[in-house]
Amino acid sequence: MVVGDFPIEVDTLVVGAGPGGYVAAIRAAQLGQKVTIVEKGSLGGVCLNVGCIPSKALIQAGHLTQHAQGHEEIGITTKGVSVDFAKVQEWKGTVVNKLTSGVEGLLKGNKVDIVKGEVYFVNDHTAKVMDEKNSQTYTFNNCIIATGSRPIEIPGFKYSDRVLDSTGALSLKEVPKKMVVIGGGYIGTELGSSYANFGTEIVILEGTKDILGGFEKQMTQLVKKNLKGKGATIVTEAMAKGVEETKNGVKVTYEAKGKEEVVEADYVLVTVGRRPNTDELGLEQAGIELTDRGLIKIDKQCRTNVKNIYAIGDIVPGLPLAHKASYEGKIAAEAISGEKSEIDYIGIPSVVFSNPELASVGYTEASAKEAGIDVKVGRFPFAANGRALSLNNTDGFMKLITRKEDGLVIGAQIAGANASDMISELALAVEAGMTAEDIALTIHPHPSLGEIAMEAAEVALGKPIHVM
């Protein structure tokens, strides 16, 4: 082990290669900075390795498993569906590998130096990078911290082979017969839904009044109906107390309606939130200020209180989502190059890949009211849309939130097939300050789900064609 080495001087140091860090590194390099990125784990961070991507791959495999069962209601039947889960996992691995090796290629192609190791700050221009064997000192002109987050462990539920965090649930070797999910946030709901599609009996224990907090009841209702249709149980206002590992499974104890209950299952998945990776970085040695919740304080350019150090992604306030991390990554990289870029997001979309998909951008009816904005809401059901009908997929609706005085589109919520695709048009409308008229007057192809946006806009304008 070499300590007290000669420091390596770098221009821009990026710490962590998740969707925040690697995007920041590439943009910084494109703008002419000499960039070094340090990653202690795998390129691509949580998102590509154990988050967004593998979860969506598993979710899609779950959908394809459902489809493989045929659609008796329309005359398509099959016999003997079989899922080789090892092969599903292998495929999931190839998807992840394509993207992570893609990231490696992109970093190299943009001439970013990639260093393996863990960063620890020594002061505001110096950090150590450690791996198993060595410690190397780096000095930097500017630094972008993008160290992301990790699952929270709750008391009484120490992670193990049977007590899983999201990473564990993503890498099971078999489809469980029964799984308890503690925490019905989007991660728990997505993973629970995915396994339900593979045939697992799911029990969701949610501490608050509803799963998917933040989404409207009308939306979560559809997800719950779907889950229940697949044999899932959802217990709200349930307090998980502890777990006992048995030979082949777990016994989870929880309290609901003042009564203590026990549920047995093969596994328990705990998805109750994530904690920012700001505690083992030596941030205090660099003089970086944190909020009470351990997040790094930043300004509109993602700059911390230390002027040459920036922070982005899950370690700064706001929604812990990959696209927010990447967006901030570009801002920070541009700010270092002297561009005037600023965080300017009135609408960060959020999507849940549940059944049906949920998506939201900007204000909801409730949040607009809270903010004192007078709104006119255009609601349109999927069941009245020709494309949704011909897809045999009519569960859902769109709500377009417009400002009453001038029809400005300030938000949209979608529950339904391909909501994740449809939200982009609305995100663009919100960002660009479009009105309901702008959307209504844009010709949307027929038949398409996009027509739902047009119709919702016309509902908001009071002259819908396809609903009364």
Partner: protein, 61 residues
Amino acid sequence: KPIPIGAYKRILATPYTRKIARDHDIDIEQVTPTDPSGRVTEEDVYRFIHAKDNLTPQKQE
């Protein structure tokens, strides 16, 4: 929680128009829209920039 950052007091403009204003150190709120709907366009921002540029030398005279 899908609650956006920022408020709706802000003037109407597309992201690119805002960027142009930022790049020229202009507070977009100061730009008067010519469009009756109150939307600030790229042209409005450039007009504002030119007006400012023309104003400065005049003052120096």
